[in-house]
Subunit: 249 residues, 2 copies
DNA sequence: TTTTTTATTGCAAAAAACTGCAAATATTAA
DNA sequence: TTAATATTTGCAGTTTTTTGCAATAAAAAA
């Protein structure tokens, strides 16, 4: 393995998890700790990451959006986002919803991909600005303080004016029988508008949310085209979804 | 777990609850009290929190926020924002433009103030979400990657539908004779729309930009109601503006 | 006051970083 | 091609950093 490849792998790891341990590098890339250390040292000198005792952390670690540091079940969400990424086609028109799982999808978009991307989430929009070839359109409206997304009639009206190839959405709760539900009425109305505007719907959802429900209903399961969890599609937790008209990934 | 991660976790905790106990850190991060104490001591030395007997407390508000570290002439901008703050009336409808000076204004808004606040800047919107009594409306549209604001026809149309008590705007360049100018055509068109939608216009501008100009014109000086710089109004650099119909602060 | 909790200090074990060196590999020149 | 040169890599020994523990001091609470 070439040095450049090794260093790129290290950078990817840091970008993905905000951190990396020297011991993990050494083991994963099958080199000595010393080589790993030297690689990290070089990358630090080039200002591509920050070397710390025992490993390295991403440059934005302290300055970046504080949310990323304490995302619950980050690894699972990254896994889901990686699966979702494969569904995105060059030059298509997509929407990325709010929530931490969808945010990971935005982060993972490769810088070479050409896309037109709508969103109503502030953090997702911030992330998309870093993608040189993604044209980003923010769907404006009244901002929800906790969800950090635009909601309300203005947002819904704007959504009614567009036609999306794919929408990647999250949900508060999901149940095979009751479908997708939320705690918040405004958010449900906004999601309904997204659903109406989309040709294909992809639900990103960590397995922990399976078989949970709340007050207000967004839609039925069969309105979703693809549901992505971090589990393999034949996992027993997904069995109740198998009978439905839905693709599991 | 890396030391930096531990310290970041501590900072998050402090930011979230304004305080943290050493015993809680030790338990949560699974380290000895001594290590927790040492971490807190380091963070205190770096002025990232304040160590007190038994734990740590936050340094107060508006101390550590993302991106703040590499703002040019931050002190001057804060001074300008403080002056601008006095112009904002309870329960009014205002717009805060993009740019680092306007961002400081958003940061400085007291949490008790009741406002309806429009913006087309992503960072400003992020900041406004932290203000419990500010209703924030993001004016959507195509996002400009470098200015991090919404621009384009959609944005301009949305702006034509609202009526603002005060707009706080920045500018790339300003000259007493040529007026406000910008490098970017789209940004100029958007600013024109803001101007049209506003009853009163306040320009936030560090003195360094005085007597500079660029390609595209936003408006004449006399269209601005109030211009705020970090200088006192009778500073000689402002003399060329005195003859104009403009209030200097 | 006494009692309890928290801080400080010094110390030792463990982990990680650094240094110099030699073997292995790659690059360049003849 | 071969030989000379430069770079990369792993290893061993040394130094530094980190961490937890225990003894003592200081502070807060009862």
């Amino acid at each position: 393995m070439l040095k450049e490849e090794r260093q790129q792998t290290i950078l990817n790891e840091v970008e993905l998890h905000n951190r990396v341990l020297l011991t993990d590098i050494a083991e994963k890339l099958d080199v000595s700790i010393d080589t790993a250390r030297r690689d990290v040292k070089e990358l630090d000198a080039e200002n591509r990451l920050r070397k710390v005792h025992g490993g390295a952390i991403s440059l934005g670690f302290a300055t970046y959006s504080p949310k990323r540091n304490n995302v619950y079940a980050l690894d699972e969400k990254i896994e889901i986002a990686e699966k979702a990424l494969k569904l995105i086609k060059e030059n298509s028109v997509v929407l990325i919803d709010g929530g931490t799982t969808c945010l990971e999808l935005a982060r993972l978009l490769p810088s070479k991909i050409h896309l037109t991307c709508f969103t109503l989430s502030l953090p997702v929009a911030m992330e998309l600005l870093n993608k040189p070839n993604v044209e980003t359109i923010f769907i404006g409206g009244q901002l929800s303080k906790d969800a950090q997304i635009a909601v309300g009639s203005h947002t819904i009206h704007n959504l009614s004016q567009i036609r999306l190839d794919h929408s990647f959405i999250g949900t508060g709760y999901v149940d095979a029988n009751f479908g997708l539900t939320e705690f918040d009425w405004d958010i449900v109305q906004t999601k309904k508008a997204i659903i109406k505007a989309s040709k294909k719907l992809v639900l990103l959802c960590i397995s922990e949310k399976l078989n949970s429900q709340h007050r207000f209903k967004t839609c039925d399961i069969n309105e979703i085209d693809t549901m992505i969890t971090e589990l393999s599609p034949d996992h027993h937790l997904l069995s109740s979804f198998k009978s439905q008209e839905i693709r599991l990934l």
